[in-house]
């Protein structure tokens, strides 16, 4: 049933209307009604009423740069120089005449023709937990269903089953996962902690080419070589076959599949993506030799190898105190990392097949608080979007002169998600079935920002 109450699972309680049963797109759905949870897990339901966008301009991969804590976008993408709310942040002209970013984003300013900024993001979730959930899933948390994140949906829609690398890789912090989709669409979390910090002693004076980011547990255990590992796996397969004879179940099959995939991942040559020393030293330097810069470079190498979705995290944006120094410092990582990523993707002719999004859980108060900080502010903030499927050089919407309200063209989080899905050629209205049988659209009634789509 067309039930859009945000706080409940709608059909879960009431069963389906007759109209639903008759709708072609829901054919066979009734059978799910009393089926076991696991049997309906992630059963994808293409909505036949809404043909998929088959634009050839669609991106094939998505990189999300996640600014955890809630970035002060007023000091980044939408500066208010000269106003009290603008604080000490200066603006600089970008490569697009008449467009200004803050002084903290000089590299990105040079790439302005390849990226667009939405200055009119509006949402209502002002707590970290709820904001993070909303900006990862496109849905307000309800407590009754765990929505799949953008990464999981992208991995499911664009990911290749044949790829030996995971289709959703998170570099740095853990993130929201597959929700009710099958566990294979959970993020594969790679701890990027091994990369050098900019001021770490080891990095000083060292030639470009820092440590590679390590992927955990893909090497044989100590003392085990390839032959011994194969011997073990052969025994394990026999053990599994014996158990499965009279204990067959979905879960046992999932366990077996995970081991097969883990084995393939351990041995794929694509793992060389993690060896950043193969990149030119100048390029490594341009990305930045901190954890974030190296993660951006790794993200590009993963896209080259066919990974559908990569999330790169950069934390430290919860600037209740000392906002301006903190934003300035954070941008010393963000700007070269993200700016070089866009430049590099463009140079390698990959930008038109890669969508890059930069966002956090909300913006920050335009009014500066007593600690020279800014607090949580979901009412008016900015997000960046660039690459395949979208236009560059655009500014969408605006805030008033003090950054307090969105002046025109408000864009909601579901709208942003609809834009992303449209840009990668996936219909935002497409539905997945929740474990309890409710069809849930990829985007929560969002409408893509048409003027951004290419």
């Amino acid at each position: 049933m067309a039930h859009d109450c945000k706080d409940c699972e709608g059909t879960r309680r009431f069963g389906l209307t007759r109209r639903d049963m008759l709708r072609g797109s829901l054919g066979g759905f009734l059978g799910f009604a009393f089926a076991r949870q696991t049997e309906v897990f992630g059963a994808a339901m293409p909505d036949l009423l809404l043909p998929q966008d088959t634009t050839t301009k669609a991106a094939k991969s998505v990189i999300v740069v996640w600014l955890g804590g809630g970035p002060a976008t007023i000091d980044m993408w939408d500066p208010k120089e000269g106003r009290e709310n603008g604080g000490p942040t200066k603006q600089i002209e970008t490569a697009v005449k008449g467009q200004y970013f803050s002084e903290h984003l000089p590299t990105l300013a040079k790439e302005a023709e390849h990226l667009s900024v939405i200055r009119s993001m509006v949402s209502r979730e002002g707590s970290h937990e709820r904001g993070r959930y909303l900006l990862h899933t496109g849905y307000v948390p309800t407590g009754t269903v765990m929505h799949p994140s953008m990464g999981s949906i992208t991995a499911m829609e664009l990911g290749s089953k044949k790829l030996d690398l995971p289709n959703f890789i998170a570099l740095g912090n853990t993130t929201d996962g597959a929700g009710f989709l099958p566990p294979e669409f959970n993020p594969f979390v790679v701890d990027a902690g091994g990369a050098k910090r900019p001021n770490a002693p080891a990095a000083k004076g060292a030639a470009a080419g820092g440590d590679s980011i390590k992927i955990n547990n893909v090497a044989y255990p100590q003392g085990v070589d390839k032959n011994r590992f194969r011997e073990r796996m052969k025994f394990l397969q026999e053990q599994e076959a014996e158990f499965e004879k009279d204990h067959a179940s979905d879960e046992v099959t999932k366990h077996k599949n995970a081991y097969e995939k883990a084995d393939r991942l351990m041995h794929t040559p694509l793992l060389d993506a993690f060896d950043l020393s193969k990149e030119k030293p100048e390029l490594q330097k341009a990305y930045g030799e901190d954890k974030f810069g190296r993660s951006c470079l790794l993200a590009r190498r993963l896209v080259e190898r066919g990974v559908a979705f990569i999330e790169v995290s950069l934390g430290g944006w919860d600037t209740h105190q000392d906002n301006f120094n903190k934003v300035s410092n954070n941008c010393k990582q963000l700007d070269p990392g993200l700016g070089t990523l866009i430049r590099d993707l463009h140079d390698k002719r990959m930008l038109d097949k890669t969508l890059v999004v930069c966002m956090g859980e909300f913006g920050r108060t335009p009014k500066i608080n007593g600690n020279n900080g800014r607090d949580h502010y979901p009412r008016a903030w900015s997000a960046m979007i660039a690459g395949g499927g979208v236009q560059g050089g655009r500014i969408v919407g605006s805030t008033d002169k003090d950054g307090v309200e969105v002046k025109d063209r408000p864009v909601t989080v579901p709208d942003l998600f609809a834009t992303v899905y449209s840009a990668v050629g996936v219909d935002p209205k497409k539905k997945n079935v929740s474990p309890l049988g409710r069809p849930i659209a990829l985007s929560d009634n969002g409408v893509a920002v048409k003027e951004l789509l290419s």
């Binding site: 597959a178 294979e184 955990n216 394990l236 009279d246």
Partner: protein, 511 residues
């Protein structure tokens, strides 16, 4: 509203329906009802589990751990006809039982929220372990404490349940009322938050009547900014009402339970709510927990999912659930009694091997094969490897658990294993320093076996007992014995066998 009354009345009537023979209770009741459905569906169940199969299952279900090899052998050679019943009695008195169920209920009540655990210094867990499960506090008293307590999170364990909810959204009782209804009555009232639903049982009046019980319940920080601790106090403000609508249509709603019972006005609101919730005439209260415990032992509820008793999800054995719930009430909400009734039933003790006609999971013809919960898996690994909690690179259980709990879907399904099949988990157990570095480490299980036993046959048997809790089959012996013998004096081959068993589905599932 009328529907809500009707619903409770129907459920109450069915729970109190005169049975043909009220003398049949507990395990006998379970077996009679379960076998009747087998007969009706012309299904032949699996044969009874063998002793080793039973022992591992009942250990995992009751204590969340694996039986040690000597205990397995002792049990196998015990000829007493009631050895299973006495083992169940014994397990319920072990500290591992209180620990495992405290951990489980902690997850059900507050999820995996580490902050809440840290802030309260694990007071909720400690209370559940020491005051509820170690002392077998009756379930109605446990829930009354969770609903009606007032105090500081580090000192009063049960307040952490509502503190967590009040901190999460501060919506004037909405999440407290919703969660309490869901957890303790398997009733999802929150849909009526935004509107009366044309087909729903509950109106907005019903919903906000429930919310009103919690409208005055608040939590606040006790310590100042300078103090290191972040303690919270749960308290009730003198005023505060539940209301809905906007502008002219906005109205206040007085506390009123789902079946229209007004509360005892002389009592604080939460206490009045607790009384209405746990009263004998509220059949949903006992049914909900009986079904939840059933699901823990059988792998699925009589009503599935366990937190939604709406008519959307039909019970597989409605009469059994009603009567077992009534039986549970008659036994004073005694949770240990409930576990004994379930675990001593023949229905629980059937083998997990699927019967030849392939059986029916819904009708429980064979024991469910289900993934271990993160807690069971962490404990099983430490047990099998012989690593003491808090030692070596395992550091502590908390570390291991955090890794297993990562990306675990629904916290409220925390009492069920749902997380099999992720690549990082497979990689960790295949290659990770923990557990792999522990297989061959001095003084751990394998090292002790190799020192104590010299014959390959004995060593192999002890490895199987330690990891899979059973002896190797003849087939396995004929496969692994030549392998370890070819390995000579080196222990590599034994490590390989240990690794294989530890990575197998048989180890990672409860069955």
């Amino acid at each position: 509203m009328r529907h809500a009354v009707l619903l409770l009345a129907i459920l109450a009537a069915s729970a109190a329906a005169p049975a043909q023979d009220v003398t049949v209770t507990g395990s006998a009741l379970i077996d009679r009802e379960i076998s009747r459905t087998w007969k009706d569906a012309s299904l032949v169940p699996s044969p009874p589990s063998d002793d080793a199969e039973f022992l591992r299952r009942v250990f995992l279900d009751i204590t969340g751990t694996l039986p040690a090899p000597d205990e397995i052998l002792g049990f196998l050679s015990n000829r007493s006809p009631d050895k299973r019943a006495s083992k169940i009695d014994q397990l319920l008195t072990r500290p591992e039982y209180a620990h495992a169920w405290a951990e489980l209920w902690e997850n059900i009540l507050i999820g995996y929220d580490q902050q809440s655990r840290n802030d309260s210094k694990k007071a909720l867990y400690t209370w559940l372990r020491d005051e509820v499960f170690a002392k077998n506090l009756s379930y109605d008293k446990m829930v009354r404490a969770l609903i009606a307590s007032t105090g500081i999170n580090t000192e009063c364990g049960p307040v952490n349940f509502l503190i967590k909810l009040s901190r999460k959204d501060g919506m004037g009782g909405i999440s407290m009322a919703s969660k309490a209804s869901k957890l303790f009555m398997s009733t999802q009232i929150q849909c009526a938050q935004c509107h009366d639903h044309p087909f729903d049982r509950f109106t907005q009046d019903d919903f906000y009547g429930m919310v009103a019980f919690f409208a005055r319940t608040k939590s606040k920080k006790v310590d100042s900014k300078e103090q290191k601790d972040t303690r919270y106090e749960l308290f009730d403000a003198p005023t505060g009402e539940a209301s809905f609508g906007e502008g002219k249509t906005k109205k206040n709603v007085s506390p009123r339970f789902l079946d229209e019972l007004p509360p005892d006005k002389d009592l604080p609101r939460r206490e009045a709510f607790a009384n209405l919730l746990i009263r004998r005439e509220n059949p949903l209260f006992a049914k909900s927990v009986v079904n939840r415990y059933w699901a823990r032992f059988f792998g699925r509820g009589i009503i599935e999912p366990v937190d939604d008793f709406s008519n959307r999800f039909k019970p597989s054995h409605p009469e059994l659930l009603d009567r077992l719930a009534a039986d549970f009430v008659a036994h004073g909400y005694d949770l240990a009694w409930l576990i004994k009734a379930i675990a001593n039933s023949h229905s629980y003790q059937v083998s997990s091997r699927k019967p030849e006609n392939s059986g029916s999971e819904r009708l429980f013809t064979h024991a469910a094969t289900r993934p271990l919960t993160p807690e069971q898996l962490a404990a099983s690994l430490l047990d099998a490897l012989g690593v003491a909690d808090g030692q070596g690179p395992a550091k502590n259980m908390a570390d291991l658990l955090r890794q297993f709990r990562q990306r675990f879907g629904d916290e409220e399904a925390a009492d069920r294993g749902l997380f099999a099949g992720t690549i990082p988990q497979a990689l960790m157990i295949m290659n990770g320093a923990m557990p792999n570095g522990e297989i061959g480490r001095a003084n751990n299980t394998l090292d002790k076996i190799l020192k104590q036993w010299t014959a390959p046959h004995d060593r192999l048997e002890r490895i199987f007992l330690s990891v899979l809790c059973r002896r190797p089959t003849p087939r396995e012996k004929s496969k692994y014995l030549p392998y370890v013998e070819a390995g000579g004096v080196k222990k590599d081959a034994y490590e390989d066998v240990f690794w294989v068993l530890m990575n197998s589905s048989e180890f990672m599932f409860n069955h």
